[in-house]
Amino acid sequence: MNAKTSKRLNMKDRYRIMTRDLAWEPSYQRHEDIFPQEDFEGIKIVDWSQWEDPFRLTMDNYWKFQAEKERKLYAIFDAVSQNNGQMNVSDPRYLNAVKLFITAVTPLEYNAYKGYARVGRQFGGVGARIACQMQSIDELRHTQTQIHAMSHYNKYFGGMHDFPHMFDRVWYLSVPKSFFEDASTAGPFEFLTAISFSFEYVLTNLLFLPFMSGAAYNGDMNTVTFGFSAQSDEARHMTLGLEIIKFILEQHEDNVPIVQKWLDKWLWRGYRLLSIVGMMMDYMLPNKVMSWAEAWEMYYEEAGGALFKELERYGIRPPKFAEQTVIGKNHVSHQTWFVFYQYGHATAFNTWIPTAKEMDWLSEKYPDTFDRLYRPRFELLAEKAAKGERFYNNTLPQLCQICQIPLAITEPDDDTMISHRDTVHEGERYHFCSDGCRDIFHNEPEKYVQAWLPVHQILQGNCGGADMEKVIGDYYRIEMGEDNLEFEGSPEQRRWKQWKQAV
């Protein structure tokens, strides 16, 4: 930069010339034809120039920082591959968390890449467009570095080999898939509220970080290094999340009720999605980081509480049904693991009963619920398994029309009763797991009647016929006896023991 000019131009002005000043007011085509998605959600933008750039990064600097991070990251991947780094993980059961990650989370990163590309073209304000574009390429980075991080593990362990194929088909992966597609098929402002704010800003510490911390506690060098490398990207994404919410709310008071409805919806949808993460933290990590209940308290109740307090001045209240998440935090991880355990023949990872030591940890972390409700259940299942009667459930569960989780979660005010709601829409009956999910349906029934529900699809014969072994093996590409079933006695466990003798 010219020494003369850099003295005269401060960073803000310089960045303005590098971004906003590039845009112009078109006159040969109408604004609404160039940006056709900007209006239909009812959000009123009075003045795009009020947008505060959440970060001021020109492309040359972006390349410089990111290239440095990539160099370091790939050096670690290479080192892990060269030195059988997979053998340094705490326990072979840990790899099941990685299988869950690449099948359930990595494809979401890809959807985020595409979603931010769309919004990065569609927003009328150039500042917001460029911020979204940078997030878009970051999300592509995360997709691809995760694929490369897991590439080495995929050579030695099951369950990861067909992650994009599985993501589009396997019953429990329709939970993250429908979640993200819900956001991606919404307008640009709802997309940002859902993903940048509710997901990245409010819930990132409950999704992304548990996996990364889990990797750190369990000797998974590739994943934890990816996590550290992505941290500064995530920090940028979080500032975009906060800026978009404040910007929309400050632009027009009519935006407030629309945003409130989105915050209600996306907190509940995020909370339900995170049941899977809760299960991962409490049951799948051999070395525990913290319990799901502790994480929810720290990152949602405390941090989220303070955040929503801050938004009060715009007329925003805490999301609807937030109190039910506080009750649910002591139950969901146990109930979810129980679902996966009994459908362990249809999962692309192994399942197991927690060890005695792990059950004691769960008792300590869940004093009000674990010994009373869940320990007896797992002890009974352990007994049966010891007698050679490992329990698998061969019936198909009822799924919630919105979150697509099997109806197995209990009532907020009665933890012995499964929560089940329903409604009739245009002569059809629809089923839900909760008031939160039914509420979401009522607001946009024409959207949610379209949901691709895995159980319905199996029953209609759209997943390769009536034979469940064919559905699992051919349609899902879960390799029977290799990817799925009980961990004890699995090929995964057997190979690990052989390899451990070799290294």
Binding site: N2, W24, Y28, M59, D60, W63, P107, G120, S151
Partner: protein, 331 residues
């Protein structure tokens, strides 16, 4: 005699991901292959987009072109994110060196008024066109089906933002009061009759719905006519007027055009080779947008500039298996 470190070896149970193996065979895959092929969702989409009811979330019908396999296109540069960023970081370092050199030697002060005027009149308004190219390519990344095509346009879109930013820096560097010549150039972009054809072309490209047509209009035709002029003729004109030093600052644009052309050519070659229908459709688009681009660019680059660009474009089209009739008519 070789130096040997003893390591234990454990036999892997597979060499790569299943989808990569089905496409490329059961052998260790490259990073480009694992990161780029068959990773986008293809089926069982839950909801139709609220903004585009007639399409699935990812839908091959965002273009009139048809492909049996959208992953038939492979980027000859093998750019996945990491490879792209590393390559651009190296280019960025070169550009940075050039800018520092220009500044340190105070070459701006050697620039004749005529040369400075030419930069303002011909080069600087293009930063707005580059912003348009950024929007177009990012839009294509959103709409195009399959990761190899989508990501190549995304990278290209970000490259165009960078070009817009480097052009802005040139404007700051030759200015006595930073921002003045950029404002002057923007006014030309908005109001000067000579620039209105280009601005109209860019704004019209914003409303093209078919991503492949848009890539034709922007990347193949418009850039194909403009960039050879910038890289060859403008440099010579500047040199004549005592502004040869500016070439130090615009040099990167030549490298980038060459680099981008590799993927654009590979893309259209693949699309055209698929079927006669694709080829005909591409020819129709090329003919239409070429006519418009010539009309738009002539006041800026002159008849001679257009003619030599047309010759180059015709050569490229022949190599891609596309008609040259449309572009031949003018030279």
């Amino acid at each position: 005699m070789s130096v040997e470190i003893k390591t234990t070896s454990i036999e892997p149970i597979r060499q790569t991901y299943g989808h990569t193996q089905r496409r490329f065979g059961d052998k260790p895959a490259t990073r480009y292959q694992e990161a780029s092929f068959d990773i986008q969702s293809t089926t069982n989409f839950h909801y139709r987009p609220l903004y585009d009811h007639q399409f699935e979330l990812y839908d091959p019908d965002h273009t009139a072109l048809k492909m049996c396999d959208w992953y038939a296109f492979s980027d000859p540069r093998q750019f996945y994110y990491g490879a792209w960023v590393a390559n651009r970081d190296a280019m960025q370092k070169n550009a940075e060196n050039s800018f520092s050199f220009f500044e340190k030697r105070n070459l701006g002060s050697r620039l004749s008024d005529e040369a400075k005027q030419l930069v303002i009149k011909t080069l600087l308004p293009l930063r707005h066109m580059e912003m348009g190219a950024n929007m177009n390519n990012v839009g294509i990344a959103g709409d195009a089906y399959g990761t190899t095509i989508s990501q190549a346009h995304m990278f290209h879109g970000m490259d165009r933002l960078a070009t817009a930013q480097y052009l802005s820096r040139i404007g700051l560097l030759i200015d006595d009061t930073p921002g003045v010549v950029l404002a002057e150039a923007k006014q030309l972009w908005m109001e000067d009759p000579a620039w209105q054809g280009v601005r109209r072309y860019v704004e019209d490209s914003f409303v093209i719905k078919d991503w492949a047509e848009l890539s034709v209009a922007q990347n193949l035709v418009f850039d194909g006519l403009l960039y050879p002029y910038l890289n060859d003729h403008l440099e010579a004109e500047l040199d004549e007027l005592g502004g040869g030093d500016i070439a130090i600052l615009t040099d990167f644009m030549g490298d980038w055009f060459k680099d981008g052309t590799r993927f654009i050519d590979a893309l259209f070659k693949t699309l055209a080779a698929e079927s006669e229908a694709n080829r005909e459709q591409l020819n129709r688009w090329i003919q239409h947008w070429h006519e418009r681009a010539v009309e738009a660019l002539e006041p800026i680059v002159g008849k001679a500039g257009i003619a030599s660009s047309q010759a180059l474009l015709a050569k490229r089209l022949t190599k891609l298996g596309l008609d040259t009739d449309a572009v031949a008519s003018h030279y």
